[in-house]
């Protein structure tokens, strides 16, 4: 699931300031391993402003929905373990060096 979301997490459009913001996002999952789109919430962030956190969150949410549209590769028998997910998006490796 992490690898799948990585491929969809496009930080190219984020400002250099927004690229300093890590966001933790909560997700509720359906039994078919697709995310419940309306359930995706910003739990906390490391940003100095809500605006930057919002942009970082929008990018994270797009990644989850886009790559989860056909369901993530998750074991159905362990649904109880992944019914609720908290995903932290940390862009510190993606900044301009």
């Amino acid at each position: 699931m992490a690898l799948s979301v990585q491929r969809c997490w496009n930080v190219g459009e984020l400002s250099s300031d927004a690229l300093r913001v890590a966001v933790a996002v909560s997700i509720e999952m359906n039994r078919d391993a697709t995310p419940v789109a309306d359930s995706i919430r910003l739990v906390r962030h490391s940003g100095e402003s809500e605006l930057l956190a919002r942009q970082a969150f929008d990018t994270a949410r797009r990644a989850i929905i886009r790559c989860g549209v056909n369901g993530f590769d998750l074991p159905a028998e362990k649904y109880g373990q992944w019914r609720e997910i908290e995903m932290t998006f940390d862009p510190s490796n993606m900044r301009i060096k």
């Binding site: 997490w9 459009e13 400002s15 942009q55 929008d58 908290e86 940390d90």
Partner: protein, 439 residues
Amino acid sequence: MVRFLTLLAALWLMALPVQAQNGPLRITIDEGVIEPLPFAVPDFVAESAAAQQMAQQIARVVAADLTGTGLFREIPQDAFISQITSFNSPVQFADWRAINAQALIAGAVSMEGDGRVSVKFRLYDVFAGQEMGAGLQFDGTEQGWRRIAHKVADAVYSRITGEAPYFDSRVVFVAESGPKGERQKRLAVMDYDGANVQYLTDSRSIVLAPRFSPSGDRILYTSYETGFPRIHVLDVASVGRRVLENQPGTMSFSPRFSPDGQTVIYSLTQGGNTDIYRMPIAGGAPQRLTSAPSIETAPSFSPDGSQIVFESDRSGNQQLYIMPASGGEPRRISFGPGRYGTPVWSPRGDLIAFTKQSKGRFHIGVMRTDGSEERLLTASFLDEGPTWAPNGRVIMFTRETQGAGGQSSLYSVDITGRNLKRVRTETGASDPSWSPLQN
């Protein structure tokens, strides 16, 4: 003690599965991709027959602005499954998801009989199936439709990226025509994307290094009208101009406004020595800021007006220095191999753009204000004279090609070093200076 620590570690490890079962599954994503965001801009809805052509043109300018940043990729209209035929109709998000449009811009244009134009738009996050922020409306004149389009694109760009806007801005530059040895130079101003060129001076005398005032209403430049370089100030609206500095027996050049628009810093050559001076734009006694036998030139204020970065050859070759705005002991900030010149402080205050000459090549680069983290963004036969976009994200500069037929053109590059591209101008062009965002 060792036994106690071992016990603690064992207890901590045992606690992990319990935590995982009781709380949500926790995953960290620390790698992603950097690629342009796919977006769709259907033709804006014309809410009157007269607005039909403008509705299409505005959508095209919005698309060009966004695509031109290198951060967005337009999905061609022939791939669309849905069309936007009414501004208030529900959006069929599934149709836009199917073509991988991640952002959708829907707009409408109405024209009144008196030439007034209204443009409204909404920005959608297609995969979230919701609007990104509230819809906006911009009003203007029929002649000013491109500015309205730039404002729409600015709003979209800022909402998605978090960057400040910059499309609704202008650039003053030196328009060049004729062969290299007899090149004619005129001051010209254009939209940031090369449209709406207006010539401000004729080609009877050489003009150099125009610089916008912080409010965009005036331009400082150097003219050889009298045979010697002299600083002039030009009013953009009336195109009226006057000589700013005129000490007999001197040459003055390389002017730049202070952030409050009240003061000009410049270089003055007297008795073979060049130093940096400041004077009120309204006139008055110049104040000498440097006093060295070397050449001090190309001064640029920090955005808060407290410091000045400039170039000097006091060390034996051109390097960059910073001093207090009132003068004083400068500190050197560039130490790499080669020569550094034309420093310009970023509007954000965190970076300084410069020209670097090293090993026979010219570069546009940026460094922190303490000289650290130098990054070269370009390399060519001759790149020089950077100017910052109002949001500090993009740099425009002059690139000259080699040889007797060499031509000057304007280029822009993102501060990441990506998206290097030529700015289209109808003549040769050099010495760009970016205006602030228009009001």
